[in-house]
Symmetry: D3
Subunit: 115 residues, 6 copies
Amino acid sequence: MANQVEEFNAYRAKMNDKILADNNKIIKRIFNLDTNAFTAGALDVQTKELLGLVASTVLRCDDCIKYHLESCYNEGLSKEKVVETLSIATLIGGTIVIPHLRRAYEYWDALEAQN
Amino acid sequence: MANQVEEFNAYRAKMNDKILADNNKIIKRIFNLDTNAFTAGALDVQTKELLGLVASTVLRCDDCIKYHLESCYNEGLSKEKVVETLSIATLIGGTIVIPHLRRAYEYWDALEAQN
Amino acid sequence: MANQVEEFNAYRAKMNDKILADNNKIIKRIFNLDTNAFTAGALDVQTKELLGLVASTVLRCDDCIKYHLESCYNEGLSKEKVVETLSIATLIGGTIVIPHLRRAYEYWDALEAQN
Amino acid sequence: MANQVEEFNAYRAKMNDKILADNNKIIKRIFNLDTNAFTAGALDVQTKELLGLVASTVLRCDDCIKYHLESCYNEGLSKEKVVETLSIATLIGGTIVIPHLRRAYEYWDALEAQN
Amino acid sequence: MANQVEEFNAYRAKMNDKILADNNKIIKRIFNLDTNAFTAGALDVQTKELLGLVASTVLRCDDCIKYHLESCYNEGLSKEKVVETLSIATLIGGTIVIPHLRRAYEYWDALEAQN
Amino acid sequence: MANQVEEFNAYRAKMNDKILADNNKIIKRIFNLDTNAFTAGALDVQTKELLGLVASTVLRCDDCIKYHLESCYNEGLSKEKVVETLSIATLIGGTIVIPHLRRAYEYWDALEAQN
């Protein structure tokens, strides 16, 4: 199961490199902003990662969900907090979110299996 | 082709079990509501399944489409009624819906092939 | 309250005339399809209007909701059936749909007040 | 400016009453879940309100944004934390979110003016 | 009718000033990117404005549509080109786009009436 | 890598044939409109393909992105123009678009590898 994590990260890294090598200024700056936005500010990093997770979930973007799940995991957030965040996303976004919830659970298991 | 149906249902069942075992109250109640909402009421079950199908299609959720296609099939709805529902979804949701229409047709064929 | 219905329809008719007078072929044909799609076929008109209503609601388009509410009302659909359709939309689309549900209730009242 | 807050809340309360008086079981339970989901659990109320705010903003629902802004305000969250949440929403959701950001700022001012 | 243009721009300018005065770095940079992205590059300004218009229309953001309609108008794009762009948006985005099409036509008339 | 292009087109063609063989009038006409809308009119074909690409990207439809990337490629549009279009989509649609940007880059490479 850990393979799912490795595969996701390898593809993500490879394509990000291609995109950034292309030197489109707008895209590079958006990637930059993405890094800056999730550093500690008025809100701490854990809260920001949960914000990223809930936004990704209601917008139903599996790759974005995986990315933020992994950051949540690495930041030491408990499964209870992550699931509570996902439950709010499912309530706000509706049952249309449930298939993404399934894949989120699967990815969380893969993150735990990896260590 | 029937395998597509089995695989979908096996994954769905396995992950639903994991999610429900986790005992998050909000998520459990949403799953519960989902079962209740599609039982007969002022509207009959067939009509409700078509409502679920058209909503899933305009929201472009392949897994939700598959789920409601299968319920439609099991409720004995004709392909004509299902396709008419999908045509309304394509008109309301636009050509962006067409890739989901392709996969819906493929899944319907798998449902028919299964029996 | 009936004014809300009249105002909505007057604006809608005036702007549709402008759009169609402009003679863009693609837009004219889409308007045409819109009329055809909701006539009786494999599905009856009432069912189709409920399909239009649920799709409009999960896509959170107030004007589309009003339009289909009015057609439902004119087709003699009971408030129970309409509300059941809206409840399915709220479950599938999530609590983000609730503000549109409020305006749908208000418009239905305006439709009833008008007669 | 405080009027904007009062008007919003008065309309919201009036229509919620109508909706709940109608006794549709699915809708009533969703309203109920909405109350439960934002009480303290693994996450505290402040964090949950920020989750509700960011989800409402990326989904571009003005009424939902207003509702969560008001809860954030009443929970004593600082403007800095609220704006940081809105900035993450704008990054994730894109410039399409900006018109909602304008109205969010206006509503926050109305909340402050009210007291 | 020209008032609609003035009102839109006055509100937009006033709230943008408030937002930018707040000095949130992420938001300021996104506003900056927004200006840069629509200057001439590999694509000319007219093409970029049509891209902005079609994206705003399929995402159903009235304020974004108004903003790009006005830029299109100021860049000297013909109504035929603008309407063709809107027709592609309506086809891709579906009939759910039509209410925004009505308001787009109204705003274009206001732009023409203003001069 | 060229296989990705062939596979995509083969599946697309096969399922389009099935859908059209089914003779649903609404769906057939929408397919027809789709062909007509992208022929030269007030706007040339290249511009229209970029409009299709940006709309598909902000709506986050991978298959639609692939389809328009391929048309852009066949119409002789430079990678610079295509990437500039994708950058506008990422700005307007937000970082939620980035996973689709990765797959768009991969597909463009497959298109180039094919020849």
